[in-house]
Amino acid sequence: MPGGATTAAADPIILEAIGKRYETASGAVQAVDSVSLTVRAEEFVTLLGPSGCGKSTVLGMIAGLVRPDAGRVLVAGTPCAGPNPEQVALVFQDGGLFPWRTALDNVTFGLELRGVPAAKRREIALGLLEPMGLRGFERKYPRELSGGMRQRVAIARALALDTPILLMDEPFGALDEQTRLLMGEWLVGIRRRARKAVVFVTHSLQEAIALSDRIVVMTARPGRIKDVLDVTLPFPRDLNAPEVTELRAKLWEQVREESLKAMGTIS
């Protein structure tokens, strides 16, 4: 992990006191409030917090899909103005695969938009799908794949863009517990080779601890940063190690407090 002394220009993501309000039928909702965060190159940062705490909104603002109404988002040192597919790739919550495209054609979608020639697109996509255990499934449609496979295709689609930044919005949220743990292990392997800055959104403590260099705990609405924890344990992580148990207890205490607040605002 790079040290904290890197220059600002080299940092892939800088959030300067960003905020976002939504107008709803029942009045304005402050989804995110003065969130400041710097993600360093090749760093894996997890946003952890209760449902509806604005984690996904923060991700949307980094991706240029949501415009902040306060503060600034800098991607690769440049103020963010709209989607930036050269820098940022996204993995969506439910995968967001195109049902009318095969696994292969889903992975090549972004390359198609970039105007990469067909043969080259295919080569890149196959190069990504094979080590993901999807060899022989390139011609399958998303509905013919298991949940875990679909999610891997979605990740391959994002990796195909070969961006320095990868944003993942609860990518394993829809999977069962076992598949989820296995996908986490798999992602640890991927990210070491991929050398990307990753911002990962989840509400699973287990996932956050298994994957992150840093865990950012967010408060219930309005989403603010409650605490930032460095996780320095080596990969792959033994989730039964005493340090992990201790960390989990500490995280749980903080998340519990916020989840209770979130429940309070719901009822």
Binding site: L65, P83, G96, F98, P99, W100, G110, Y141
Partner: protein
């Protein structure tokens, strides 16, 4: 395969029962199906009937014209209303209300505007075929998953690319259903238009035969028209199934 066998069986049974019922009764009102092939063959030479080939050809042309116009108008208005929220919200209830009116009430006014010739038949075919198409486009646009649009946008897709690579495929199965229904209704519109008042076309010949009490000829023509509509719709169903398989 068993389904096909059953269908064939039902069809054969239908004609058998028809034959049995009609046999002892007055052949002017109760036509026996066994007399139909002969009637069909004879019809090309019946001096009282207008030459059939020309009329069939005219009707086919009217159907083609009506369907092409219905598709063009339906797609145009559907996308106009569907992609511009405000315009859509103003006009969509109006459209739904118009759809609820039995279209045949407009036919007299179409005849006034377009005359007794082909134009009024085409206009009626367009009117009938247009509604399912425009409504399917509107429904299709509403069904496009917002996530998929966001996925494409996040990868830098511009509006037209989003339209072509995300919206159109996501809408395809709904839209193709509407296009199929529109085809069937365009055919119905043209035929009904011809029967209600015309000087040419298969509907005119049907009416003519009926008017002269040539009931055998009338029955053959009616059955032929039904078979033609069925064949067209089956072709439509095949296309629809194929598109649906592709679009998932």
């Amino acid at each position: 395969m068993t389904v096909l066998a059953w269908r064939l069986g039902i069809l054969v049974g239908f004609f058998a029962v028809w034959e049995a019922v009609a046999a002892p009764l007055n052949p002017l009102f109760y036509i026996r199906p066994s007399s139909l092939p002969g009637a069909l063959l004879g019809m090309w030479r019946v001096p009282d009937l207008p030459p059939l080939g020309e009329h069939v050809w005219l009707t086919l042309q009217e159907i083609a014209g009506a369907y092409v116009l219905a598709v063009a108008a339906g797609l145009w208005l559907g996308f106009l209303l569907g992609l511009r929220r405000t315009v859509g919200r103003i006009y969509e209830p109006l459209l739904a209300a118009l759809y609820a009116v039995p279209s045949v009430v407009w036919y007299p006014s179409l005849m006034l505007f377009f005359g007794l010739g082909s134009a009024s038949k085409i206009a009626f075919g367009v009117l009938l075929g247009f509604f399912p198409i425009v409504l399917s486009v509107l429904a299709g646009i509403r069904q496009v998953p917002a996530t998929l649009v966001t996925v494409a946008q996040s990868m830098g897709a511009r509006p037209f690319t989003v339209f072509r690579k995300v919206m159109l495929p996501a809408m395809a199965s709904t839209m193709v259903g509407g296009l199929r229904a529109g085809l069937a209704l365009s055919v119905v519109g043209v035929l009904v238009g011809e029967i209600l008042g015309s000087r040419a076309g298969i509907g005119y010949v049907i009416n003519y035969a009926y008017g002269l009490m040539m009931t055998r000829e009338y029955a053959v023509l009616a059955l032929l028209a039904a078979a033609a509509v069925l064949a067209l719709d089956t072709a439509g169903a095949l296309v629809e199934a194929r598109v649906k398989r592709w679009a998932g």
